[in-house]
């Protein structure tokens, strides 16, 4: 009896399948190699990016050693330049806070700002500190170095004095050394964990395909959103004072208050966002999220070309940020409307990367709970 009935539904289904093909003329497919994309992010962007950061912090540590051995104007300048280079290298990869970077809690660990300079002054004066401690985020990392190496009013002599003739000069040197060593240790650990000869997270990352919440694709998309929100909220909105009940700008909330280097850092960070979207690495371009979106679009799966729209909006944001006169901590006081315009365009990017992009790539946002898709 079963045998008799079996062909019937099958035939029906086949007919239907053929019928729908005719209906729409659709014969296309999503022509995209996801594994190759992950390989590009892992092998071309992240591993070299982490190696670069490690090398820059290594360099910084050496320059600090030179400087503390013989503090001169020239050696101070060398440290300052090494610090900026390392900070820029950090902007290139700080969006990707997953895997080892997440375990190291890297954003807070080495990039908490604003730094708590009174805590630093206290530590130096009392002669006791632990920059490696659990609660030392706000006295270490790039922003702490920014305070240690630059004078608020741009007076290089004052900094030199701090490390030569001031009462606690020896402590200042020791503190500076500790902070630069901590920074280098963290980035070295990060690289080690990624390196195929170390923890080989690279291997884990590349083979973690699929679209579950713990998949590499999902990590990328989520960190694109969260990393971009860091720029928008921490680097622009807070200094603008939008979150403050009294509505007053908070100049000291910028990322690089003492060196007045906040805007170049933001631009570098935005460049990293663009690279993350496109899959661009230091010496070329590989498969990225934008290519994946375009493959979906080509198969007729999305209504508009999201990759193009994201690209255009990022360019607009870039132009708006470039229009802010440096330094940022003065711009929020003197020309808040320009900063606000940049902020507004950043807000306008959010639907694209938070709703459209994850939707088109079917990426889940959290690793708990079941769904029935409604």
């Amino acid at each position: 009896m079963i045998n008799k009935l079996l062909p019937l539904p099958l035939l029906l289904l086949l007919l239907l399948a053929v019928a729908c093909k005719d209906d729409t003329g659709e014969t296309q497919r999503v022509d995209f190699d996801e594994a190759a994309m992950l390989d590009n992010y892992g092998s071309n962007i992240l591993l070299p990016g982490y190696a670069f950061l490690q090398q820059k912090t290594q360099d910084l540590q050496s320059r600090v050693a030179d400087f503390t051995a013989a503090p001169t104007e020239a050696s101070l300048l060398a440290v300052q330049q090494a610090h900026q280079q390392a900070w820029l290298a950090w902007q290139g990869i700080n969006l990707y806070e997953f895997g080892p970077a997440e375990q190291l809690n890297l954003r807070r660990n080495i990039s908490t700002f604003p730094t708590q300079y009174p805590k630093i002054i206290n530590a130096v004066q009392s002669g006791s500190w632990d920059v490696n401690g659990l609660y030392a985020n706000d006295i270490r990392g790039f922003a702490a170095l920014d305070f240690l190496l630059y004078s608020e009013n741009g007076d290089g002599g004052a900094i030199l004095e701090r490390f030569t003739t001031s009462t606690h000069a020896a402590n200042w040197k020791a503190f500076l050394t500790d902070v630069s060593q901590h920074l280098h240790a963290q980035t070295s650990e990060l690289y080690q964990q990624w390196s195929p000869t170390g923890g080989n997270y690279l291997g884990t990352f590349i083979t973690n395909t699929g679209n579950s919440a713990s998949s590499s694709l999902s990590l990328l998309v989520n960190q694109l959103v969260q990393g971009f929100e860091q720029i928008k909220n921490k680097k622009i909105r807070e200094p603008l004072g939008l979150m403050a009940i009294d509505g007053q700008p908070v100049p000291r909330a910028v990322e690089a208050y003492y060196s007045s280097y906040s805007l170049p850092l933001i631009l570098a960070n935005l460049q990293a966002v663009e690279n993350m979207v496109e899959g661009t690495y230091a010496s070329g371009e590989g498969l990225g999220l934008a290519d994946y979106l375009e493959a979906h679009h080509a198969a007729g799966n999305t209504q508009t070309n999201l990759a193009e729209e994201i690209r255009a909006q990022l360019q607009l944001i870039n132009a708006k940020v470039a229009a802010i006169p440096a330094p940022l901590h003065q711009a929020v006081l003197n020309q808040p409307q320009l900063v606000n315009e940049a902020y507004t365009e950043m807000v306008n990017l959010m639907p694209l990367i938070k709703a459209d992009l994850p939707s088109a790539l079917s990426v889940r946002i959290e690793d708990y709970g079941d769904t029935d898709g409604d």
Binding site: I2, L5, L6, L12, L13, L16, A17, C20, D23, T24, G25, E26, T27, R29, V30, F32, A35, T209, G210, N211, S212, L217, N233, R237, L242, M243, I245, G247, H296, A298, A299, G300, N301, T302, Q303, T304, L306, E309, V347, M350, P351, L352, K354, A355, D356, P358, S359, A360, L361, S362, V363, I365, E366, Y368, G369, D370, T371, D372, G373, D374
Partner: protein
């Protein structure tokens, strides 16, 4: 037999929920919970000032009740307790609404009324006089009806242009699983999405009837297994496929179930005396009342999912009448929302950091569901007036993307959301769905 399967499934589901740490994640950690409309009186233990362990205790008690159902121990008490606790935990947070939780709640409620402990149970062992050999047919039909409704209405919901004509959202979901061994590469083909869409729709619409008819039943059950295993492999839908695979056995004959029970008894080496010829009987008055009540229930089940027709606008867009209607796996919908609070005395506007109050899951679910947005707006109003903002007004900038369409503004951004009340009335503050013809291909 259904009792045993249901009990086992529920026990498993509850234990799985606990083992994954979801109790903590979903019901202890969040600072804000969304309530169901009309059920805001249901208080979360934390809101009552009880310590966090009570939340876990509720789940342990629920697992115990499921075990009670499985073993048929103090059945009415176990089933009643399970129904109440399960429904209670579901009501804690609207964020976690799933059709199959609703289904579970309904079946658990029905189970309380059914004499499912009258055979092969600890209750029968305790009081052999409880044992019966047969039960009235309506008890079986009731469960079959409930299952049939789930499938058939899910099938009806798929009769939608997005699903049938555009293969949305499957054409977005399937390529994401192209990493699956063997069949993976096929999922990138657009025609496969069409095939799955049509097959799924046809399956849902026909399976209750194919299961009813004894000739097509074996084949239909093979289809049930194939369909649900496939969905289990493809999508993160947890226990649901297994619950359905287990539950649909109710369509099989009494003889089939008796054979299963006999095998189980042999396996356990525990044989209960059969009481041939004894039939479960209710007091006539009670039975009449119960059947009338159930008749009403059946009517509500049949009509309630159609309430969407009374609302203007696109159902998927406004979600008015979307829940409790067996609409599963129909939409890829994502949103992005940002709130700001305005001081009505000074006119100053403060952006809100949503993640201060909600976890990522809550934020995501809220962003596409107007009633949740409204609740959160009311919460913000209270919170900001505590913070010293004068008579706060709450506005939102919201964008939603639906089934591969470009995201569009969702709610009117010039309406003070905290001044609105949720209810049955159409929500005219939802912007109309801009249904420009869907571009299916270039």
């Amino acid at each position: 037999m259904f009792r045993i399967i249901f009990g086992a499934m529920m026990l498993l589901a509850t234990l799985r929920f606990m083992a994954r740490g979801w109790v903590e994640l979903l019901y202890v950690q969040p600072k804000f919970f969304f309530h169901y409309w009309g059920f805001s009186w249901v208080q979360h233990p934390l809101a009552l000032g009880l310590p966090a362990w009570t939340v876990h205790a509720v789940y342990m008690l629920m697992a115990a009740a499921a075990l009670g159902i499985l073993l048929g121990w103090r059945y009415r008490l176990s089933a009643g307790l399970f129904f109440l606790l399960f429904t209670y935990t579901e009501l804690w947070d609207l964020t976690n609404y799933l059709n199959h939780y609703y289904f579970t709640s309904l079946v658990a409620g029905l189970m309380v009324l059914l004499p499912a402990h009258r055979s092969f149970s600890l209750d029968v062992r305790r009081r052999p006089s409880l044992a019966v050999a047969t039960v009235p047919a309506w008890t079986i039909y009731l469960l079959q009806f409930q299952l049939g409704v789930v499938y058939f209405y899910a099938g009806l919901a798929k009769l939608h242009p997005d699903w049938l004509l555009h293969a949305q959202p499957l054409r977005l979901w399937l390529p994401a699983r192209a990493d699956m061994p063997l069949i993976g590469p096929l999922f990138k083909e657009v025609w496969v999405a069409y095939f799955f869409s049509w097959f799924g729709c046809l399956y849902d619409l026909s399976i209750p009837f194919l299961l009813r008819w004894h000739r097509s039943r074996p084949l239909a059950y093979v289809a049930v297994i194939a369909f649900h295993v496939l969905t289990w492999l493809l999508f993160p839908i947890g226990m649901f496929p297994w619950i359905m695979i287990g539950s649909t056995l109710i369509f099989f004959s009494a003889r089939f179930h008796q054979r299963l029970l006999d095998k189980l008894q042999r396996l356990l080496r525990w044989r209960l005396p059969r009481v041939p010829g004894s039939t479960y009987r209710m007091r006539p008055l009670l039975q009449r009342a119960l059947l009338m009540g159930l008749g009403l229930y059946v009517l509500v089940q049949l009509v309630f999912p159609f309430r969407y027709a009374l609302y203007p606008g696109n159902l998927y867009w406004t979600e008015q009448g979307f829940r409790f209607s067996w609409r599963v796996m129909l939409m890829e919908k994502a949103g992005s929302i940002s709130f700001w609070v305005e001081d009505s005395a000074t006119g100053r506007r403060l952006p809100v950091n949503t993640r201060e109050y909600l976890n990522a899951q809550q934020e995501k679910m809220m962003a596409t569901q107007p009633d949740m947005i409204l609740q959160f707006a009311h919460f913000l109003k209270e919170d900001y007036s505590r913070k010293g903002v004068n008579a706060p007004r709450v506005y939102a900038d919201s964008w939603v993307s639906l089934n591969g369409r470009r995201s569009r503004p969702y709610l009117r951004s010039d309406v003070d959301l905290a001044s609105l009340q949720d209810g049955w009335a159409p929500k005219d503050w939802i912007l109309p769905f801009d249904d420009t013809p869907y571009r299916a291909h270039r």
